[in-house]
Symmetry: C2
Subunit: 433 residues, 2 copies
């Protein structure tokens, strides 16, 4: 772990699902409340779900992130604090206020994230105890980070974190991130939580990035938009955009020159930082899809040759979210008919006689075409089955109508996804957000 | 069976899937080619998939239906004749030409429909033999109709047909319909197969309606649009719009006064005909959803109080196609959080604090509310579970922002749907369209 300097973390169990005490595993119940603290003042940027049904913690963060300064993030799993009305908003505010108080932070510098079931009021007694306990346990070791990562997980089968080290103006700089997300995943995040009119729409995913680079708040905002546009906003597990999607990045500058923070996202000096942020966001985004609920296949849907980005985006999302395409991936069936059907009903302009569809190993340009210019190739059914048999492959779709492209990192649809999400009504705690 | 006068039908097995002969059940293999014939000249109207990847038989029908006159329809299952290029178009034309020849019909009066796997050329030797055999077996009995219905089925578990009798200007008139469809179901049909710019987009479903009413072609067209807008275009099984969706209605006038056909869809005289057509189309559309692949729940999603029909439509489709909402229905989980999440990411304007969500028995206005004005009601989890336990229920969503409404007839998402559609790649014939 190459953790950025000056950040500490903690993760505790405070029983946000009100499991009581009897339900823990041998290791004790899963942690459910995390704290991340920057020892020094940090700049901050955030992107938030564009869902109009937007959770209380998102509302609180959207307001606070605008100021561009933050010190801490408190995050809980087990309850989304969404559709909880005024009481929910009061609770989210109490969470940041209490975090500031117990950590002696300036007012307005704590942020909050929540994930879990929608429409249940937060058990604030437990939450208060959790924040106090977490504050007492903050530390900078690998174990501390691991506990925080565990605390933000819901249906995730494994923790998701990554950190990188790079040089900025000769100084060793670090950038690390953690995230959660497995279902209700097709984020479409914007800085204000408001939806750009022209933008495509589309779990809860929560992502928290920390860096000891020195970056101004506006530059950090631009860098995060760029990174998320290529990562979290290009993933789908089940096509459902959550009420709680949140990505935050805090930059405390401890590895940089506080008098000369990075301020120009277009500059050569900025490039290593942008590259590191892009890398971490993309790695985390892919972890979410690979660990998606019930997922057995990870497919990169690459649409090229569209008339416009909007068309490429629409075609890639139609394919990535088609139940029939996704079940065919699950079955190892190279059913290009379902793919051309999906692009045909998308909002993208498509001319059947121009469409190419093929498969490759991840990232490879050695493509086995199943369709060229709307006509089946000589590739045999057996060859095509072999191309879609691996756990990961790329699907190449060329519309041959223009030069725009888009890609989606997508998952198959399995019986396990359905079994998990239909839940067990005898045990409401089993029912996901 | 109250079959319209002057129509005959047949259904035969001609091995369109090239199963060989070893694969039949005790009763022989399922029939796969149907013929419907009007003994007298008939007016015709049709609506077709707006998928840009549009099958050859749809292209042929769109052109022919414009003339407003038809005598026969030839329909095959087992092969969609979609994405089959020029050869496919030639094959679809040969099917109508051969039908006209063997039945001694005027040129241009036969229509064609196909359903099955996409991207495989039609086995024309078998098709030709099938058309000739079907023509020899045409008849007007209940058995003849049943054979035709069987022949158009693919993954359908049961045949779908209905007929009604009503009076037009004192004369006993009949209207009957048959349809197929179980997967790749979210039709969005238009008269030209072209997509209205303002229209929402969204199986193969095939529907064939016959009547002995006398109706002019323009009036029949208007009547069909009205009926389909309230039926087939309001259903979804899996959100995938097919390349082949087709609904045709033929009116041969044998029960009416050929000199005074119905010509004014707004008139009192027209109303009984419109009512009969609406009734038959709606009954058939609901049969499709109830028999959808793996379906265990039939849910009528009723959105009211939207700012506009477009908003109501978008909200109803978002809910009806959300993987998380559909799996919760499968599990009997009254998870309104997933519902408000789905309307929140839809294109409809939604204000969380104004939303009501509730459940009733089908068609009942006795609603158990789970959410009023964005706040959970006092309804208990147990009561809500009881409301979503039945095989069929209505979901009421009130946006309380305006006066527009829309509804969708929707299905749950089950493990059986996934198991069926992931198919068995060892047996390509098992792989659906």
């Amino acid at each position: 772990m190459v953790a950025p300097q000056g950040f500490t973390a903690a993760g505790v169990f405070c029983d946000i699902k009100r499991l009581g005490t009897g339900k823990g595993s041998d290791k004790g119940p899963k942690r459910d409340l995390a704290l991340i603290l920057s020892e020094a003042p940090a700049t901050v940027a955030g992107l938030f779900t564009t869902n109009q049904t937007c959770a209380a913690p998102v509302k609180v963060c959207v307001e606070r992130v605008k100021r561009g300064r933050a010190r801490a993030v408190v995050v809980n799993s087990g309850n989304a604090n969404a559709c909880t009305g005024r009481e929910g908003l009061r609770d989210a505010r109490e969470m940041v206020d209490l975090t500031e108080r117990v950590l002696s932070l300036p007012v307005g510098t704590a942020l909050v994230g929540s994930t879990g079931r929608i429409g249940v009021q937060m058990p604030m007694g437990n939450v208060r105890a959790g924040i106090t306990a977490a504050a007492a346990e903050l530390g900078a070791t690998v174990d501390h980070a691991a506990r925080a990562v565990e605390a933000i997980m819901t249906s995730d089968s494994r923790p998701k974190q990554i950190a990188v080290e790079f040089k900025l103006d000769g100084r060793v700089t670090r950038l690390g991130g953690m995230c959660k997300g497995a279902g209700m995943i097709q984020p479409g995040m914007s800085p204000t939580g408001r939806r750009p009119a022209s933008s495509p729409l589309h779990a809860t995913m929560l992502g928290f990035v920390t860096t000891d680079a020195a970056v101004t708040a506006p530059a950090l905002r631009a860098a995060l938009r760029e990174a998320v546009a290529r990562s979290f906003n290009r993933i789908t597990v089940d096509g459902d955009m959550s009420t709680n999607d949140t990505v935050l990045v805090l930059a405390n500058g401890l590895a940089g020159d506080p008098k000369a923070p990075l301020r120009d996202p277009g500059s050569a000096a900025f490039a290593p930082f942008q590259a590191a942020l892009n890398h971490v966001c993309l790695a985390l985004a892919k972890m979410i899809v690979r660990d998606g609920e019930g997922v057995s296949r990870f497919v990169t849907v690459r649409v090229e040759g569209a008339r416009s980005f909007a068309d490429a985006d629409a075609a890639s999302r139609a394919v990535a979210n088609s139940s029939l395409v996704k079940t065919s991936w699950c079955g190892g069936d190279p059913n290009w008919g379902r793919i051309i059907d999906a692009i045909g009903y998308s909002a993208a302009k498509v001319v059947e006689e121009k469409v190419d569809i093929g498969y490759s190993a991840p990232g490879s340009r050695k493509i086995l075409w199943s369709l060229r210019r709307g006509q089946p190739t000589k590739a045999t059914f057996k060859e095509l089955c072999a191309a879609v048999a691996p756990r990961e492959f790329d699907l190449h779709i060329r519309l041959n109508l223009g030069s725009a492209s888009a890609l989606m990192y997508a998952a198959d649809l399995t019986e396990e996804y359905v079994a998990f999400n239909k839940g067990d009504v005898a045990d409401p705690n089993s029912l996901g957000g």
